[in-house]
């Protein structure tokens, strides 16, 4: 399209806007402002939902390949792309059952809270230079605050169900949380030490030369393992271990409530994958591609990197059996914590030598 036509188009649109009544004009302008586009469209809701839908579809297809199956096939034009929509409709059309014994206000509100809080993580995650909903100097800390609060909703949900399987699942989840959280923090400390900032954009900029996975490889390992525990994926899906506890803390949930927990789990998975890409894999730094404009290039590389992390996490489900709770505690305290501390020391030494 020649530029003249575009200019004319813009002029016509501006004229059209001028003639509109004030509230409507404000609204249309609002739709074009950052205050709308960022939270709702790109790093916000729509992007999250699309990414999560893709992740779930991708998981099914990937696992099907590992297991010599076909995976979703029929819904949607290509390879069951719309299977998830069908599943969502199925889940939503199921009867909402609140057990008689459950503490109703808590039981009903926790899924909503869990899903909303998991989405909140994305508010602080920059997906490209400038592509962040809430830019903050302590963005990383905010992300971890949100990630630390989300488990509480799960604990309350397990308790409020008043069923034994939920209760056991909840207790297991509590133990899981304190087995992974400390190494999680320590691994993060090494990155902030290397980047000298809690600002996620600054952390990415600090990786312009080389990603932090190179100096802080041990930290990356610790971070990845604890992140898998954080999102309750195999081999650390101990609180929801199906063969042991039916469905752990979510046993009593069904229909839309279950759908929310399901969604929340995958949102958390994606958030953690993006975080890994930001902290260790160099974020949006990457070679430029001629036909991609600069504003798209950053998100492209970041999403590509986080997809690699996602597929790594998903693949684990196909190859590992589940570990037990005491093994996880063992791994967390006897292996990951010393490793994270060692990593901290290595990073400090590198800084001292002026290499970082």
């Amino acid at each position: 399209m020649p530029p003249q036509i575009i200019q004319e188009y813009a002029r016509a649109a501006a004229n059209f806007l001028k003639e509109l009544p004030q509230p409507l004009r404000d609204f249309i302008l609002f739709l074009h402002s950052d205050a709308f586009i960022k939270p709702i469209i790109f790093p916000g809701i729509l992007f999250i939902l699309t990414f999560v839908m893709f992740t779930i579809w991708f998981e099914r297809k990937l696992l099907a390949r590992v297991m010599v199956r076909l995976g979703p096939l029929h819904v949607g034009k290509y390879a069951g792309l719309l299977q998830l929509v069908a599943d969502a409709v199925k889940l939503l059309s199921k009867e909402l059952i609140v057990p008689e014994k459950a503490v109703k206000p808590l039981y009903v509100s926790m899924p909503v809270l869990c899903c909303a809080l998991s989405m909140l993580t994305f508010a602080f995650l920059p997906l490209g230079p400038g592509w962040v909903i809430y830019p903050s100097d302590i963005g990383l800390l905010l992300v971890f605050v949100v990630l630390a609060v989300t488990p509480i909703t799960i604990l309350v949900a397990g308790w409020a169900s008043r069923s034994k399987y939920s209760f056991i699942g909840m207790v297991r989840f509590a133990f899981q949380v304190f087995s992974y959280e400390v190494p999680f923090f320590l691994a993060l400390a090494s990155v902030t030490l290397a980047a000298r900032s809690f600002n996620l954009e600054r952390i990415v900029e600090a990786q312009a030369g080389f990603p932090f996975i190179i100096p802080a490889f041990l930290g990356f390992l610790v971070f990845l393992i604890t992140a898998i525990a954080e999102v309750e994926r195999v081999p650390f899906d101990i609180p929801t271990a199906e063969q042991e506890l039916v469905s752990g803390w979510q046993t009593e949930y069904s229909g839309a409530y279950f759908a929310l927990f399901y969604l929340a789990a995958y949102i958390k998975l994606d958030a953690v994958a993006i975080l890994t890409a930001l902290l260790f894999l160099g974020g949006w730094n990457g070679p430029s591609i001629p036909w991609l404009p600069g504003s798209v290039l950053g998100p492209f590389w970041l999403i590509l990197k986080s997809l690699i992390v996602v597929s790594l996490v998903l693949l684990l489900r196909g190859v590992f059996p589940r570990v037990t709770l005491d093994k996880l505690l063992d791994i967390g305290w006897r292996f990951l914590v010393p490793l994270a501390l060692l990593n901290l020391l290595v990073v400090a030494v590198l800084i001292q030598m002026g290499l970082l």
């Binding site: 199906e242 506890l245 570990v323 037990t324």
Partner: protein, 404 residues
């Protein structure tokens, strides 16, 4: 069925315990219920409660004729129909004083071993699932399909084939294999192993069966690398659910559970029947006495079964497959008999009493699952909750076979 009694049976003084049921609607058990009492994360008591799929097979046997009992008796263990019917047929033959023809003996052995593999594959696959490893299940079931195809070629049915009859087998194995089956097998072989089958897979039955055996043997090694050799699986199963040798004997457990406790006992060797005396095979045993040993015994048994099938196919003579003029309705002389055969889950025995009519007077099934169930409360004690499914499934417990 035990709900009321349990509360009054024991009160633990060590601390507050929690009692809950596991099953019958639980992804970790079948149609079977365990009443579990835990103290913290430790199981202090397990009370098995079978009977959810009790169908009164033994009573029904008294109402059916000797022959119509055969398809009926397959139902308790459809995955292992041959193993279940084998002792019944042996018992009836012993009462009648007849012996099947040589070829039928070999065909029976092939069928029994095929079903043993199918049943063990189910065991291995579900062991994977219970350890949280769904891939193993899918792999086992994908490969099992070709063994089931072979069963279908011989017996005419995929699973419950009613192939064994007193005095032989129902029909002979075919000489030719359908072209589509061969083509499909070649495709699968290439997909799974990444290479073509060395040479043509012929449509000749014997050579096709040998090709399937060879393929399956290769796949077994991959199962080992995938699950059985993985460190997490070894951690989950080794030292979990220890059944010492003397306990195994005094509780009367059978099959891989017994051999996993280091007892070298197998009905195929102890009381050889049909073509087993002519075939060379090992009886794998493990001394670990734990869940891992039991699973590994099952794994090595599959390897041995492949060897048995290969030998049986090579040695199988030509000739008739059943006694002449085999009647539809038979009368069995009065008497009593106790016959055993090695089913997939262990020794399966039938006690049969005949009163000389066309129906049995009393049929008692000592099914392997029932005899292994006796060990369950002894194994699930002082273990973690997470070990329950592992121990439970290391017994290869089949609720329907136990309840009959």
């Amino acid at each position: 069925m035990v709900a009321e009694e349990v509360k009054s049976v024991e009160v633990y003084e060590v601390g507050p315990t929690l009692t809950f049921s596991m099953g019958p609607q639980h992804p970790g058990t079948g149609h079977f219920r365990m009443v579990i009492t835990v103290l913290g994360d430790t199981v202090v008591r397990c009370d098995p409660d079978p009977g959810f799929v009790h169908r009164g097979e033994e009573k029904m046997c008294e109402y059916k004729t000797w022959i119509t009992n055969i398809p009926h008796l397959e139902r308790p263990a459809i995955l292992d129909a041959a193993g279940m019917v084998y002792p019944y047929v042996l018992a009836v033959e012993r009462l009648m004083g007849v012996e099947p023809p040589e070829r039928a003996k070999y065909l029976r052995v092939i069928m029994a071993e095929l079903q043993r593999i199918c049943s063990h594959l189910y065991w291995l696959g579900l062991m994977g699932v219970f350890a949280g490893h769904a891939t193993m299940y899918m792999w086992c079931f994908g490969d099992r399909e070709y063994l089931v195809d072979l069963t279908q070629l011989i017996g005419g049915q995929r699973i419950t084939h009613s192939y064994f009859v007193p005095g032989g087998v129902r029909n002979d194995a075919p000489a030719k294999v359908p072209k589509e089956l061969v083509k499909e097998f070649r495709r699968y072989y290439r997909m799974m192993l990444g290479r073509d089958y060395g040479g043509e897979v012929p449509e000749d039955f014997r050579r096709y069966a040998l090709a399937v055996c060879e393929f399956f043997d290769t796949r077994l090694d991959e199962y080992y690398r995938m699950l059985l050799d993985s460190s997490i699986f070894i951690y989950r199963t080794k030292g979990v659910g220890v059944l010492r040798r003397e306990d195994a004997v005094s509780l009367g457990v059978v099959g891989p559970v017994l051999r996993g406790s280091g007892v070298r006992s197998d009905t195929r060797i102890d009381e050889p029947y049909d073509a087993y005396p002519y075939i060379k095979f090992n009886v794998p045993t493990m001394d670990g006495c734990d869940s891992y040993s039991r699973m590994m015994v099952g794994y090595y048994e599959m390897k041995e079964s492949v060897r048995i099938i290969e030998q049986a196919i090579e040695q199988m003579p030509d000739g008739p497959v059943k006694l002449k003029q085999h009647p539809v309705s038979i009368r069995v002389p009065a008497g009593e008999v106790f016959a055993s055969a090695e089913a997939a889950r262990g020794q399966c025995s039938f006690y049969i009493r005949s009163d000389g009519t066309d129906r049995p007077y009393r049929v008692k099934i000592c099914s392997p699952s029932f005899r292994n169930l006796i060990a369950l409360p002894h194994l699930i004690r002082d273990v973690r909750v997470a070990d329950i499914p592992i121990i439970y499934w290391s017994l290869n417990y089949w609720p329907v076979e136990c309840d009959r």
